[in-house]
Amino acid sequence: MNCDRCKKKFTDIGKKMKIQKKIRGRVWKFGDDVDTDQIIPAQYLVTGDPKELGEHAFENVRPGFARKVKEGDVIVAGKNFGCGSSREHAPRALIGAGISCVIAKSFARIFYRNSINIGLPVVECDVEAEDGDEVEVDFEKGIVEVNGKRYSFPSLPSFLLNLINSGGLVSYVKSKLSKLEKRC
């Protein structure tokens, strides 16, 4: 199915998955326990389209976010980012808004899984930064650099790296199905 507005396949969002070696972006700073109702309020859960969802990202807690955010921007947050609902609409909204990576001290587990599965890079790292700072994430070296300070983060377990580099969960499942692995 194609989205009427962005003409992208819904499932294409996982395809830019192969993590780029490095990204640079402008920081949007958030605190602890940012819940998925803040990321995308429930009244918009009547579509799965990232662009449409992205237009309402953080609408209640950061009015104007969707208007001001630029492609490639990065979220830097505290602990437990993405807590609450299992709605995949939350990472989809961030992708739709143009966010290239979320760096947080820790993540709520369903948000973390969803992000990995659909191709939103997530980095578990306690980083000091403010709105508008320039941040660089080096995924190969596992380093975040901002305001002249460097922070290291552990690399993902190899299973998850393979999952990401094979193009996300959709591609992973497709390849399993094509191998005619016996379903049980």
Binding site: D33, D37, P41, V61, N80, S85, S106, I110, L177
Partner: protein, 416 residues
Amino acid sequence: MPTISEKILAEKSGKKRVEPGEIIEARVDYVMLNDVTGLPAFEVFKEFQTEPLTDRVVLIPDHYVPNKDIASAEQAKAMREFARKYKIKNYFEVGRGGVCHQLMIEEGFVAPGRLIVGADSHTCSYGALGSFATGIGSTEAAAVMATGKLWFKVPETQKFIVDGKLNRYVMGKDIILHIIGDIGVSGSLYKAMEFYGSVISKLSLSDRITISNMAIEAGGKAGIIPPDKKVFDYLNGRVRGDYREVYSDPDAVYSEKFEYNAEEIVPTVAMPSLPENTAPASELGGIEIDQAYLGSCTNGRIEDLRIAAEILKGKKIHEDVRMIVVPASKRIFEQAVEEGLIKIFMDADAYVSGPTCGACLGGYMGVLAKGEVCISSTNRNFIGRMGHKDSRVYLANPAVVAASAITGRITDPNEL
């Protein structure tokens, strides 16, 4: 040495033993989707160009049904059409079903030792019957429909022990709010919670479901209670297929242990805007309310309606308050009619509706306006959760909700 979680995940991944931190692929017994998380999953599923494992898929429209608007009608239609296209029998149409987690349990999908995933965060509710059950995303749900398997990181397990004697009007809700107030909303992040102690053993299954249901509000991956006779009796004549109960070994390794004395737990309220922000209901008597909500997967069962009806019997709801009562399933609604509970609510001037999740997530059927305050038996009090960003939600047990509806301010029912 394994915990309940480790044993279930080992068995389902065909291994003798799994260790916390290990990533496994495991066979899933059931995957559940609702109308909101279903649509994105069906779109992803098309990519796989395969048939779903129909016997293991359960489709339950509940969030925005009966349809709240055209977009939600389309969403519900997508689920109905998916069910028809693939002849999925486990589809529960409006009027036949109810709130997904209650229905999963009532319909016998949930049983000890099972591994169940659901595209809804409160899937952890099923831990109350000894399942390892956890919330997942839509893309993952599509993958499970196609392959019957999913990857899991084996969690560490925390042990929670509640002993002593429960105070009057203290319910499962107060126990879990007390625990979350203690450990915080990320206190169980990436971890499984297991609940033990004399208080947990004596609790009704309904109260246990409330505890497991809110494990996610502490960040927990699962909230498991060892199954006992109450569970086996409940499943008798109800459960689909066979099951085998699983218990932790006596020397199981827990990452942490927490012990609580029930005497210290009082009717508890979580103040805005996080479930960890707890206080005794008796200390919040100055907070006036506009709405009292009784329902949801957390507290919409017959036991919840009974205690609220006991408090409301022969009383009227405060003139400045509207009370909304939403039984969590058709069966509960029917039982509440038979027991005369619905008459008590209506005589008290409460509004009663058929099952839906609507109000709990600010969808419809009880959305709050700017500045309004709701005392609610639901599970989340985040900013804007039930409506306007400047509305406020206080979470409480059904008895506190009923007592507050009468007085018009947050009230510990022991004060009535």
